[in-house]
């Protein structure tokens, strides 16, 4: 267990960048797990692929081997999809073959009772005496959108694969990983790599955090966690603190209700419900807590596109009153400041604005606001030195505002280096605006509340980096 960080990262590489993969329990029957995995790997994975099954000569047009030991040449990664009681035997063979990693997608282990737990213990024993690392059992394994490693054994008609992106996903729930993946694909949210580790008999959150910290394609780590293993909490905090200096970590906790009342003799024990303690631990670890799946990806998107903020002062530029009021409420609730712009800045704004535009903050260009007005407002506010983050609300239902406002927002935000998010809502034209902003690194949200949460996460991550001493 006392491996160095470099060692862990090196060892985990095999799960994402293997040169060869053997699928043990490969099947020729459509929809069977062992068939879906071979099919999916064939689509995008470019290394050597070896189906293993003693009853077949060939699967999906690939030569099939009776056992992994019969495969000619080296095998980096073994993927096991067999009945639980057969798994220890093939783990033994895989270790003999000299694989560096094993993904066990089969279920039927400690999650079903003592019999399964016994099998799990057998596997644990074997791997503890070797260098091999194991993901699973009882999880979906790995989905790598860059290298095509895909053991998420759900057929593509059922679960779409998302585009290549910058968000790594670590999930304790297999079903949720599948649902998230499918949803992310539909939403066009890019993922770098996803891991569903199931019972985590070996590779766990700590290992994966270290790996994704070094992973070039990953900018943000999104996690769904129900619980950590007993006694591993302090190690988790230490790992997260290390990683959060380099990359933001956003986490959604499942199972938040306090544990049943404990017959405790002291206040402290009675009050220290597991969720309360978990929350404090997240704060100490420099992890940003999400409130829902949607929120997890709202925040992850912002953090993958925009830099962390240098302070808590927010400005809002809008052409719609209602959303700006709701944004102001939400900013207050999240503890962000909405400073009234200085007289000098307001004067500068008014030089080109009609008298009925509001210049305090929010800067309200009203329904008359044109792209030119946005240009002036963006330039003036972003160079004022009075704010740290910017929310741009742009509703394109008004006749004066064109979709080209997107290019202005992108250009000004980039030039002045102020973290910026946008809020817009509507139909077809709005979709165009959204696409143009998102393609150029400005995250867009459909409500003020969600946009403010995203903005808050940029502020929060800035503070985390300053507190932990980021690079």
């Amino acid at each position: 267990m006392n491996r160095s960080i470099d060692e862990r990262v090196e060892q985990l590489r095999v799960f994402f960048k293997p040169r060869s993969i053997a699928v043990i329990g490969a099947s020729s029957k459509p929809m069977k797990i062992g068939n879906v995995i071979v099919k999916q790997l064939k689509k995008r994975y470019s290394g050597k692929l070896y189906p293993v099954n003693p009853r077949h000569e060939e699967i999906e047009g690939l030569k099939c081997y009776p056992t992994i030991l019969d495969v000619p040449g080296d095998v980096d990664l073994a993927v096991i999809s067999l009945r639980a009681d057969l798994v220890p035997g093939v783990v033994k063979q895989s270790i003999e073959k000299g694989v560096k990693g094993i993904i066990i997608v089969s279920g039927g282990f400690s999650e079903i009772g003592p019999e399964g737990a016994r099998l799990e213990m057998q596997i644990r024993d074997m791997i503890s005496r070797s260098e091999v690392r194991v993901i699973g059992p009882n999880g979906l394994g790995v989905l790598d959108l860059y290298t095509g490693v895909d053991t998420f054994f759900l057929p593509e008609e059922r679960m779409k694969r998302p585009p290549k992106g910058r968000i790594a996903l670590i999930s304790q729930s297999g079903a949720l990983s599948a649902a998230i993946t499918d949803w992310a694909a539909a939403e066009g949210i890019g993922i770098s790599r996803a891991v569903s580790y199931g019972n985590k008999i070996d590779v766990d959150d700590v290992d994966l955090l270290y790996y994704f910290a070094e992973d070039e394609e990953t900018r943000v780590i999104a996690m769904y966690v129900e619980g950590l293993k007993p006694g591993r909490g302090k190690e988790f905090i230490e790992a997260a603190r290390y990683v959060a200096r380099k990359k933001p970590i956003v986490l959604l906790k499942g199972g938040k209700t306090a544990r049943g009342a404990v017959a405790a003799a002291s206040h402290t024990a009675a009050l220290a419900g597991s969720y309360e303690v978990f929350r404090s631990a997240l704060r100490q670890a420099g992890i940003i807590e999400a409130e829902s799946i949607e929120d997890l990806f709202d925040l992850a998107r912002a953090l993958s596109m925009q830099p962390p903020a240098k302070g808590r002062r927010a400005a809002v530029i809008t052409n719609a009153g209602g959303p700006a009021v709701m944004a102001t409420d939400a900013l207050e609730r999240h503890g962000l400041e909405i400073p009234i712009l200085s007289d000098e800045t307001q004067k500068k704004l008014r030089e080109k604005f009609p008298p009925y535009y509001v210049t305090k903050n929010p800067v309200d260009l009203t329904g008359d606001g044109s792209s030119e007005d946005y240009r002036h407002a963006l330039e003036t506010v972003l160079t004022s030195g009075e704010i740290d983050v910017l929310l741009v609300i742009a509703l394109v239902q008004t006749p004066k505002l064109n979709v080209d406002v997107a290019d202005l927002i992108v250009e000004k935000a980039r030039r002045h280096g102020i973290p910026t998010v946008a809020m817009s809502f509507g139909g077809e034209l709005t979709r165009k605006l959204e696409a143009r902003l998102e393609e150029n690194g400005i995250p867009v949200y459909e409500t003020s509340e969600r946009a403010v949460r995203a903005l808050w996460s940029l502020v929060e991550y800035g503070e985390i980096k300053r507190r932990l001493g980021g690079d």
Binding site: A269, L271, E276, S280
Partner: protein, 233 residues
Amino acid sequence: MKGASIVKRVLEEGRKKLYEDEALNLLRAYGLPVPAAGLAKSEDEALRIAGEVGYPVVLKIVSPDIIHKSDVGGVILGLEDPGSVREAYRRIIRSVGEKAPNARVVGVLVQHMVPQGLEVIIGATRDPVFDSVVMFGLGGVFVEVLRDVSFRVTPLTRSEALAMTREIKAHRLLEGYRNTPPRDREALAKIILGVAEIMDNVKEIREIDLNPVMSYTEGAVIADARILVAGRE
């Protein structure tokens, strides 16, 4: 290791809880502010100790079998002179004899009574995942009814300990409110850090409850301490 010998004795005697004097000695060994106190086994001893620790004093029953001392008339506060100490000693022994006849009585703790301050609670427990965790909250309804507390996993830094005192919803009471003066947060942070150090050093300790800790404009003092060990049943 500081405190190890006290805990060893407690475990050897098959107890789950440190006696009041043991708890105070352990805290003192870690440099935490506790009132002067001593364990009396007789009336005369109680009088002698009262003279040493200084009036006013508090008497508390010390017994491995009594968890809630006040419920059995085992605590008497605000004793100003030898006469009242003698009388209180008798009253405690009589009351405990009536209300908890089977309880073993080790003696009576004679403790200097600390001045009233803003009452806070500082505690620690062991979480199954994170192991030692420290807690901070304001005394009375704030903790019991409102559950207004903050936590940290140990080890923690001084600035995190200070942040714990700011995180509770009622933190304005510590900053000074209406006629009340601001409280010495540094002194509270020091106690939090001390409690964390004890938990990290002495693995046998399961829970610490310092309730109340009197918080003043300058300094703070632990007025009552309960320390539990992971004893065998």
